[in-house]
């Protein structure tokens, strides 16, 4: 089968310069198209709804889990939403939020609201917290503080950084 009918078109098609241009443009374009199509398809399908914000999902452990800072009474009952201030230490934080490839880093501090608003105890952070980079969110969560054998109104202040 004769692909190129006329002598002129044959000469043009055999022009090496234009084929080089074609190869430089077409091949990367095809490869890029395939990768972008593939990536968009996978990313789109695995996207978690915006309403489910992962950074908040990780915060609840701080005041709900007895292995973090949640108050656990003498009979072993856990009081979710109540932070035992004696547990609010960096060493407990390292067990509660060990090193991982987590996307978010947290910086926590407590405020005692019983006698006006005042900072209370230490400020602690997750091991992946870095000083560089902006804080993407800062929030205050109403909780209870347990100290002196009683519960007091308090606030858990959380700074969040995206570290990925």
């Amino acid at each position: 089968m004769k692909i190129f009918d006329s002598k002129k078109s044959g000469e043009e098609m055999s022009n090496w310069f234009w084929w080089k241009i074609f190869a430089l443009v077409a091949v990367p374009a095809v490869v890029l198209f395939m990768f972008s199509f593939f990536k968009t398809s996978v990313t789109g399908a695995s996207e978690i709804p915006k309403s489910l914000e992962e950074e908040y999902l990780l915060i609840s452990r701080f005041y709900d889990s007895p292995d973090c800072f949640a108050y656990q009474d003498e009979v072993g009952r856990v009081h979710p939403g109540v932070i035992d201030t004696s547990k609010f230490k960096q060493e407990n934080m390292d067990k509660c939020f060990p090193e991982s490839d987590a996307h978010y880093a947290y910086y926590l501090s407590l405020k005692d609201l019983t006698y006006g608003s005042m900072d209370f105890g230490d400020e602690i952070k997750t091991s992946n917290w870095v000083e560089e980079g902006a804080v993407i969110k800062e929030l205050g969560k109403d909780i209870l503080l347990f100290y002196d054998g009683k519960k007091h109104n308090g606030e858990l202040k959380v700074k969040i950084k995206n570290v990925r």
């Binding site: 022009n15 399908a45 709900d64």
Partner: protein, 134 residues
Amino acid sequence: MAKRGLLMAVALVGAIILLLVLTVPLLAEKIASRKLELKAAASRDIALLLDTIYACPYDIELEYDFDLTGFTVEVSDNKVKIYDASYSAPENDPFLAQYSFVPVNGNPDFTLGNPKKLFFRKTGGILTLKDENI
């Protein structure tokens, strides 16, 4: 010179066509079977589930009723990795899906092949994961 150029051009076009013929069906099969999306979504789903379980103040049992036959689910190094069951290790799967989670006071290590369902249980802060009802 023109003849040589034509031959080169034909070879080049041939190479592009060969590339497409070899890669497009492979990708098309993966995309059409939704395996890649399933792996990516399930790994993230399970990782977020683990974060939720660890935040739970009490003992908890949870059934993840999603058929992952054809895959191996590995929970190790604080990551959920899902790879094709035909591969012996996650690194061997070129389309490995993985997502990180943060355990509390532990380092869970589980590998389950072809799970039809996953059963999570946290008792006294210790997590177990099985592919049959515990």
